[in-house]
Every structure is written in structure tokens, then in C-alpha cells.
Symmetry: C2
């Protein structure tokens, strides 16, 4: 089954209701407005965008990543993540695997990891650190 | 592929390292300690537990749900969710489907929904409301 949110968007309902215009805005993404309206993170990698749910001791980021993006090897706090849609080649330590829709992974603190992408990918990650990412400066 | 976090647990590494004892504690769950250490929610449904990531305008809950649990029909703020592991029969409005690992869904504000479970299920949900759930009172 595809994400039902996509079915909702490309599907039959609602037609002409007050939500119709709003819904078209997140065409082609599994993330609804309630996620896209979160603050966007400041990330220096081309083709990588993310929306931040800031907790007291934790951050969660909803990533939207172009197939052309590359995440070079790096390490930091512990991280748990899950592929919502798409295909990602992720190396954790010395193990490289392809991760697809529904696959999740745990990266212990300090373990080097990097990724490339076989498709556009939607990936959610939770970081055991409240300051892994900063919000983008939206003042321009 | 199963969640790699399970592979990590049931797999070869780390053996005897400082993480070994800690890791055994989350045997049989895809959620690492960084999630299990979040505040637990106060939820009156038997067989349902959840850990809360509290945002400024949003809540995210990592649910661990017994196969015997029943979530009666109810409605509230908009909700987006995803099945991490397991099988859930979810009715949104008048549409009932089975959702499995990697399947996600969007429940617009005010739309009635309810669920039952074919297996123990791990489900993550994000709520467009900072007060959908309260933390469990841990003093009692």
C-alpha cells in the first residue's frame, strides 16, 4: 500500500471542499501541512530539506531529499531513523545497505555514517540531542 | 529488510561492549532507549503505551500496542501516522484498511477513526495540537 495520504491527495476526496486548494500544495509528498509548517532546518547539503520538531532533549526531523543529494560521512549523537518513501544507500560504520519504505535503523553515538539516494527520499530521524540542527534563518 | 535496529539487537554486535547490557533492555522493540526514555503518555486504553516528543505546537507519540488493544472511534485534531512494525486495521471515516510496516495515513481534523490490531504494533503519530496527550503522572 502506498501512503494513504497520497491516495487522499491523488484520490477522489475531498472535491471542491475548503481543503481542496490547501491539499494540492503538498502534492507528491507524504508530509501534510502540519509537518511542512514546522520550522525548516538550516542544512548546508544541496538537495536536502528538513522540518524540525523540537523537543526538550530531542529533535525530530522530517527530511525531503533529492536523489542527487549526498550526505558525507559524519558522526554525532545517537540517531534513530526510518524511510517513509524512497530508497537510500546508508553506510553505518562499515556496513552498507539499501533502506526502503518502512526500514529503520539505529546509529549509536559517535558511529560514522553517510548516505546517497537511489530516488527522492522522505526520511524521518530522531536525534538524542536538542541542538543537532538549528532553525533556518527566515529573515533572509 | 527488518528494522536494522532489530538486526543490531539480535545480531552479532556489539558483544560485551559497554552498550551490551543497555541494549538488551529494548529487546523485541524497534525503539531505542532514546525513545523509551521520553516521558510516557497517560492513555486509558488497555495494552496501549506511548512515549511523547513534545513540541511547541505539535506532539509526536511513539506507540507500542498489544494485539489485544482496541482504539474506539474518536476524533480530534489532524493526525499523521506511520506503522513501524506490525499490522493495524484502521478505519478513517468510512474506509477500513490494513496498514503494515511503512504504511502511513493522514486523518484530517474532526474525522472519526478507530483501530484494532492483528499483531503487536509499533506506530508513530504526529498530532497538530500541543495538548492531545498529557504525560503520565509518575509520582503515583
Amino acid at each position: 500500500m502506498e501512503c494513504n495520504v497520497l491516495g487522499w491527495y491523488f484520490g477522489e476526496r475531498p472535491r471542491g471542499g475548503p481543503e481542496e486548494g490547501k491539499m494540492k500544495e503538498w502534492n507528491e509528498t507524504p508530509y501534510p501541512d502540519m509537518i511542512r509548517n514546522l520550522p525548516e532546518i538550516d542544512v548546508p547539503l544541496e538537495g536536502v530539506r528538513g522540518w524540525l520538531l523540537q523537543g526538550a532533549n530531542t529533535q525530530m526531523v522530517f527530511f525531503d531529499i533529492a536523489s542527487t543529494a549526498e550526505v558525507p560521512h559524519h558522526s554525532h549523537c545517537a540517531q534513530w531513523g526510518l524511510v517513509v518513501e524512497g530508497e537510500m544507500e546508508l553506510t553505518i560504520g562499515d556496513e552498507t545497505r539499501i533502506y526502503r519504505k518502512g526500514d529503520c535503523y539505529f546509529i549509536p553515538e559517535g558511529v560514522s555514517h553517510g548516505a546517497s539516494f537511489l530516488t527522492r527520499a522522505y526520511v524521518i530521524d530522531i536525534f538524542d540531542d536538542p541542538s543537532r540542527y538549528k532553525e533556518k534563518n527566515t529573515e533572509g
